[in-house]
Point group: D2
Chain length 328, copies 4
Amino acid sequence: MSALDRTDPAGAVAAAAARCSNWGRWGDDDVKGTLNLVTDDHRRRAAGLVRRGAAFSLAQPFDMDGPQQGWRRRTNPVHTMLDTGVDAEFADQGLPHGIGGADDVVAMPLQCSTQWDGLGHIFDHGRAWNGRRASAVVTSDGDGVTGMETVAGDFTGRGVLLDVGRHLGTDPAGTGGELPDGFAITAEHLDATVAAQGPTSAVGPGDFLVVRTGQYGRTRRDGWGSYAGGPAPGLSFTTVDWLREHDVAAVATDTWGFEVRPNEFDDAFQPLHQVVIPHLGLFLGEMWALEELGADCAADGTYEFLLTAPPLPITGAVGSPINPIALK
Amino acid sequence: MSALDRTDPAGAVAAAAARCSNWGRWGDDDVKGTLNLVTDDHRRRAAGLVRRGAAFSLAQPFDMDGPQQGWRRRTNPVHTMLDTGVDAEFADQGLPHGIGGADDVVAMPLQCSTQWDGLGHIFDHGRAWNGRRASAVVTSDGDGVTGMETVAGDFTGRGVLLDVGRHLGTDPAGTGGELPDGFAITAEHLDATVAAQGPTSAVGPGDFLVVRTGQYGRTRRDGWGSYAGGPAPGLSFTTVDWLREHDVAAVATDTWGFEVRPNEFDDAFQPLHQVVIPHLGLFLGEMWALEELGADCAADGTYEFLLTAPPLPITGAVGSPINPIALK
Amino acid sequence: MSALDRTDPAGAVAAAAARCSNWGRWGDDDVKGTLNLVTDDHRRRAAGLVRRGAAFSLAQPFDMDGPQQGWRRRTNPVHTMLDTGVDAEFADQGLPHGIGGADDVVAMPLQCSTQWDGLGHIFDHGRAWNGRRASAVVTSDGDGVTGMETVAGDFTGRGVLLDVGRHLGTDPAGTGGELPDGFAITAEHLDATVAAQGPTSAVGPGDFLVVRTGQYGRTRRDGWGSYAGGPAPGLSFTTVDWLREHDVAAVATDTWGFEVRPNEFDDAFQPLHQVVIPHLGLFLGEMWALEELGADCAADGTYEFLLTAPPLPITGAVGSPINPIALK
Amino acid sequence: MSALDRTDPAGAVAAAAARCSNWGRWGDDDVKGTLNLVTDDHRRRAAGLVRRGAAFSLAQPFDMDGPQQGWRRRTNPVHTMLDTGVDAEFADQGLPHGIGGADDVVAMPLQCSTQWDGLGHIFDHGRAWNGRRASAVVTSDGDGVTGMETVAGDFTGRGVLLDVGRHLGTDPAGTGGELPDGFAITAEHLDATVAAQGPTSAVGPGDFLVVRTGQYGRTRRDGWGSYAGGPAPGLSFTTVDWLREHDVAAVATDTWGFEVRPNEFDDAFQPLHQVVIPHLGLFLGEMWALEELGADCAADGTYEFLLTAPPLPITGAVGSPINPIALK
């Protein structure tokens, strides 16, 4: 791919969309996009990758100490109690025979922490996945076409970790390697990481590609800073062809926004989203916690696993908080 | 076990707790209860059960059309949009190069739909799991000891469906069989279902026991009625010994409250909860959607599968909404 | 006014809008509608109506026992605690020198209980108050033009209670008189009530007209039933000219929806709203608690008072919960 | 009053409570505290203060651009739309005859912006107002004794503005005068301000005392900084006797926490709250917007007005967001 013209994000988006579009590939009525690539046979083989039975949670903590600072009215999760153990022990809960209970409530943006972006999350010039009009997909009632409930059972398959932070980054504090903010991961970087990691890292159709930059680990050491919305390492706009050619089912990173920030154009906002979600029908995972998994993969040299990352099937949601599980 | 004395739930609870308690079994500091029974080796073997790669979501829809009617301030999930596709197409979202976006928020009780009960959810006479004082575990700040974040990676293992509704119920509308409200499933009923279903249904240590009564299917046909809190088929109080002897890691049902309603005592509220959560350290799944899985198991005669049901790791939560995935 | 053609609500709306419109009356930039009629002099005279200093709260309770049943995702208010007195007395709140605290949170639809409808609440064929395009007024970011914050200080003035329930209704249980559901209050009914109540009930420009039907009192006796959205007494569509001629600043009732339900057309939804909000710029108060005030006015024969009903200035809100205070 | 011993906040609290307590003053069952001092006659005379009919809203904006930064899980208000004007104009809302609508929801801590502290908000050594046990007053179900609904109609009376910022502060930017953070307003400062302002500023029983420090105006110029919880001018702990002797019904300021911050003891947290709420039964207003009212009072030399500041009667609430209205 030729060099990007930093002054023309709209032109780059249009050209990439023309080259890589999946519109119509799975029929006019399709709501699953690249998840169509995850077949029963793919999942059967993915289960066969489990060798030790070790399970890894790839979710960040969901609480008020999270990274959100109010952008787009995104707060951190507010968790409140309806009943507590203190009540059960010292107050009258009105229950018989000594039983007591605690109960709770949460209010949160669906994309405040570890999450999937759904296909209704991003539009290009008023067009949603498969060419639909955005206004016909997501109203104030939610996403009536591609809401997360339509893919409730589809996020299980072979996961592959490309630990770019470890293989191409520096390791300032012995935490496993990390890329600096603003580092644009290119197709060459992805290929080099595959080569460095060895054969368990080959990426093919229907795989869930998980990219570790190390930025989340850096926040565990240095504090959140502007993790939610600020500068970050991430995928280069130029990886769109690589993603399309490898036909991955989804891509997840340990950063807020999946693609490199600042973006690679002078005046831009998430142009890679603008291609991959509405034109490829690609699901994006963001804010995943990959430190423990990264260390384990480095230790045993095995970068593939069974990934199960089920969204909450909130009707009409354009994204979902998740707790992805990697089983090795 | 002898017949229950309907007038003495407190006595029955105390006796069952004395017979079946797991306090101290995994050390004084334990926060995982019966999930300790799920080992890497167990998970490895569970992955080996995957034959076809078929994935089933066991979650009910999360939306305002749910069963909650306000009990304990439990509402149905309220999902609202922060940005929409209609805005993206027709209003000015303030974004460059034609990108548009939708974003959303949810407010919901953690136990309003398909969920896990955590160990901080129920107490017996002011005592929580492992003998701790309830007031030292769950305050208004949440569960500081056994919050769901402490078991974020532990809900993967062998699942076994006991379709009691199909094997012992009636099938009024060809929906697969269902038990009437108030039907108390005993140890004998569980054993008979295992026998009827065949060898893939054997239940052992660390297994996730999934019991289908058919009540959820009935609501899909007849409407919610009082599903959230009303009469229901469910486990008899007398199954506590069976659960302890089989050393299951968790039990999930397709009903609101896991145990039979009305309860089997004259003036009672969920006495089986009062034993199994604080004394056994057992995790309970409630409001699971088992119609599709039940039909598939009946069709292929295989009732075991890899279950992955990760909770959202909301810090201090005493329960979590989930989307359990069964992989066969 | 001639009889309504039950088959043509759109025609009736258009004709009423043509007769009564206030578009442009207070300039093209106006955001206050009929609140422009409330001048300093009006408020000064209203304060002069206070004779005894008796204050009446006209708000219904805000809690989970309210009337909402989920229509339009409207729940009742969910009030949860962040800290409690039980914690302060028995748990460690981490505070010095014996201080303890309680704190709380609410989640609620802005129109779930006693409230004002703002000018951004209702549109006619895509047009908002003063002829603006609806899409230019209320996006997912809220009402950027006529949000409640623009009228934060404008809801103080002379209130007049027209107790139609008492004067034209029946009194089945000695609760002060009530109209049956479906009773359409016409201009003649309003005039007759003014005449029956005497000179303190005269209605003029800038007044806050408060109409008691008695339906709320009926729910206190018989239960909510379908109070939030069901049949109700209320203003007839034909009162639009009366409201315009009397130039009231606002109208409030003790019912869910201000106008009679079922509406007076065969297939209709709140046609009087469709005229008075976007075309007159009239603010509507709904679900007010008028039982105590009604009894007091009947007792002393004085139906006018100083009304102060300040909205919460939530930026961009199209309505607001309120606690209106009548001072006699 | 003698100088404070900075090392003994508990002793100072106990001594002040012993000197100033109102426990039992209005009977053992009392739930209104100092609001008992607001009589009908007081309100009648307060209405007589209205000379021009000018109304002032004393509320800050309620939105995501507020001061909250997460302390005590306090977020800024999250306002989301259920329906919008964009939907009404361009999407199908399913409504007849051209009517369209917008609707909205808010989630917010009750004390996130302009508010009243209720009597259940603060405790002293496990004791609430009137000597009740804190655990018997505020559980996870809310304040079952002194919830804001019990004083729904009681916040109307004579307001007096003491503009200490204007009279004793500096005026760095021509904004009317402001006190520096950490400035402790003493009884002498209050008396001096009364003297400087003249006879309309006399403070007596049942009055609503409103104290302007100018800090809020400073935030409008310089940004929020740590307004919600950080250093601030405010009342000195030593004013407790003055407040008790003048028998005010309530005190409100334009700061987050009413009393001076840092507090006047070495290791302390809001010791004046600990005396005045549980022992005096005094209601506190916080985060009021007093810039416009302060300028008007300075201009016309009249510092008294009719104040109406009704709380939302949220059942069991320990505080309430408000929009106070001053009518001059």
